[in-house]
């Protein structure tokens, strides 16, 4: 009887305490290495090197306005191009037969598994003005050489190249799950192919589009590698600016944190607006 009781008690103890305590190491780890560092960014952003509170970091941000505008403009442009190129591909892939879909997905993911620095660097060989492969090909056709390297256009090409799979994959995964009978119903009710696409497929694939847009926009607006390799010295972006304050010539983590904080806030507002917009659309579809 006594032994039985002990077994029951220990079982109760196990059930109540054991499983939950398993998350404790994780909780501590995330607090120390995720939450505290984010608080540090905020703390550094509002202090000066001697430790006092200051807003000077933001006062000096005006001279970086052009960098802010360039970053958001190029990231916006890349996102739009990724959407225009990626949506049809996702749609076409979803129509392939099962085995081909797998092959196509593998072909899209394979480059992503390779070091993105190496892939970006390879564009240099293609785009270079004097001896680049593209211009030598154009020369054969008798077309005047294009000056792309070290311009914003090269940065956009690099971004689209690197982030296009991030647009294709989420859209594909939504379209591939669309219920075929919904489309057939639209056809039976007399919708033309264009109408089926515009009024059924497109609205239903919107969640994929929205997550694709964030997955492209966030890394594009914060990159510093692509602009450094393909953009030359005149096309610096926000990422370059932040990197310079931490590891580069202009060491000033306080200013760097302030810039990072502003970027983070703008991106968060952007994502919030996107999600609101998405919710609205979904409701419209439901009705």
């Amino acid at each position: 009887m006594k032994r039985n009781l002990r077994a029951v008690l220990s079982r109760a103890g196990h059930e109540a305490a054991k499983p939950r305590t398993m998350a404790h190491p994780y909780t501590l780890w995330m607090a120390a290495f995720v939450v505290v560092p984010i608080i540090l960014i905020a703390a550094f952003a509002f202090t000066s090197p001697d430790g006092g509170f200051t807003l000077r970091n933001y006062a000096s941000m005006g001279k970086f306005l052009s960098v802010f505008l360039r970053s958001f403009w190029l990231a916006f442009l890349s996102t739009v191009i990724c959407l225009i190129l990626g949506y049809p591909i996702a749609y076409i892939f979803a129509r392939f037969s099962g085995r081909w879909q797998k092959v196509m997905m593998m072909l899209i993911m394979l480059p992503m598994w390779m070091n993105f620095l190496l892939r970006t660097y390879a564009w240099k060989a293609i785009l270079e003005t004097r001896s680049g492969l593209l211009n030598r090909f154009l020369d054969l056709l008798g077309v005047a050489p294009l000056h792309i390297m070290d311009t914003p256009a090269a940065v956009v090409i690099g971004m689209v190249y690197n982030f296009l799979p991030f647009m294709i994959l989420p859209i594909y995964s939504v379209i591939v799950k669309l219920d075929r009978s919904v489309i057939e119903a639209a056809q039976d009710l007399g919708a033309a192919p264009r109408g089926v696409f515009r009024r059924v497929v497109l609205p239903l694939s919107l969640p994929g589009v929205l997550s694709g847009i964030t997955m492209v926009f966030v890394p594009a607006v914060s990159t510093f590698v692509i602009s450094k390799i393909l953009g030359g010295s005149t096309n610096i972006l926000l990422g370059d600016l932040i990197e310079m304050q931490f590891l580069g010539s202009a060491y000033n983590p306080h200013l760097g944190s302030a810039i990072a904080l502003v970027m983070m806030v703008v991106v968060m507002i952007f994502m919030y607006v996107m999600n609101r917009f998405g919710d609205g659309e979904e409701q419209a579809v439901m009705m």
């Binding site: 196990h14 995330m30 995720v34 540090l40 129509r95 390779m114 993105f116 492969l133 931490f246 590891l247």
Partner: protein, 275 residues
């Protein structure tokens, strides 16, 4: 959604794939180029491969990358799996904020995660007298790997029937034993998947490593970045070719395994149908 793909669709697919693979083919081709130029062809050579394997800097960076990826993936898998089990047993009031924190490294741009941890390490290093190096690099990798493990284990836990664990305990198992014998085998696919994702994320990472590794430790990505900034050597192309081929082989193995498993399942289903 499957249906006919017209010729235009196939052509368009080919064009996009050309866009995605053009730089990779350029790299592979010029890794065999006899001249140092990465645009003018001058005959076939294997010199760059030879030089690559005698380049101490690159080899050291390669070992660092493998070490940090393996250790961080293993540790993150352990912590993440335990956390997922713990979280799924928690009351919602506690679980929701913890899962929100879990999403922070996933949503934030890499550069934000990188500089945030850079600040922490510099700040702590001032007090505790340490410098950024392999240790801080490892901590950073574990930190951004844990969320991926949790995200791939949680769904498996949700699918798990709670009654199974209860039944095991009613039959006399302690909780630990029930966990080991019943729960763990059920969620194993999620754990393996999480470990694989964590490993590839580690291998692929550049930005976070760049801010947390300090000046003495270098991962392969960092070595490549340093190369693109300073001297430009076709060794880079040789390295990419090797990486590309190994990833290709790895993916083929995974896919073939998947197809085999599917066939096995089909067979089992057939047998099950007969019974």
């Amino acid at each position: 959604m499957t249906g006919k793909v017209r010729l235009q669709g196939k052509l368009y697919t080919a064009l996009i794939l050309l866009f995605l693979y053009a730089p990779i083919f350029v790299m592979i081709t010029f890794s065999f180029n006899a001249s140092k130029s990465h645009t003018v062809w001058a005959g076939v050579t294997l010199d760059w491969y030879r030089e690559l394997f005698s380049d101490k800097l690159i080899l050291k960076a390669f070992y660092t990358t493998i070490a940090v990826s393996v250790i961080s993936a293993a540790f993150a898998t352990l912590v993440g799996t335990c956390a997922a089990v713990g979280l799924s047993n928690m009351r919602r009031r506690w679980r929701t904020p913890l899962l929100f924190v879990n999403n922070i490294p996933l949503i934030n741009a890499d550069i934000i995660t990188g500089i945030a941890m850079c600040l922490l390490f510099v700040f702590l290093g001032g007090f505790l007298k340490f410098k950024r190096g392999f240790g801080t690099l490892l901590v950073a990798h574990i930190t951004f790997n844990i969320p991926y493990v949790i995200l791939s284990v949680m769904p498996k836990l949700r699918q798990l029937d709670d009654n199974l664990v209860d039944a095991a305990m009613d039959l006399g198992c302690t909780w630990q034993r029930a966990f080991r014998k019943v729960m763990l085998p059920e969620i194993m696919p999620g754990i393996v998947n999480g470990a694989l994702i964590a490993f590839t994320m580690s291998i692929d990472d550049f930005v976070i490593s760049y801010f947390t590794a300090g000046s003495k430790t270098q991962t392969l990505s960092m070595a490549v970045y340093a190369m693109t900034r300073k001297r430009i050597s076709p060794e880079i192309n040789a390295l990419s070719t090797i990486l590309f081929v190994s990833v290709l082989i790895l993916l083929l193995i995974i896919n073939i395994r998947e197809i085999r498993q599917e066939e096995k399942q089909k067979k089992l289903l057939k047998i099950g149908g007969k019974i």
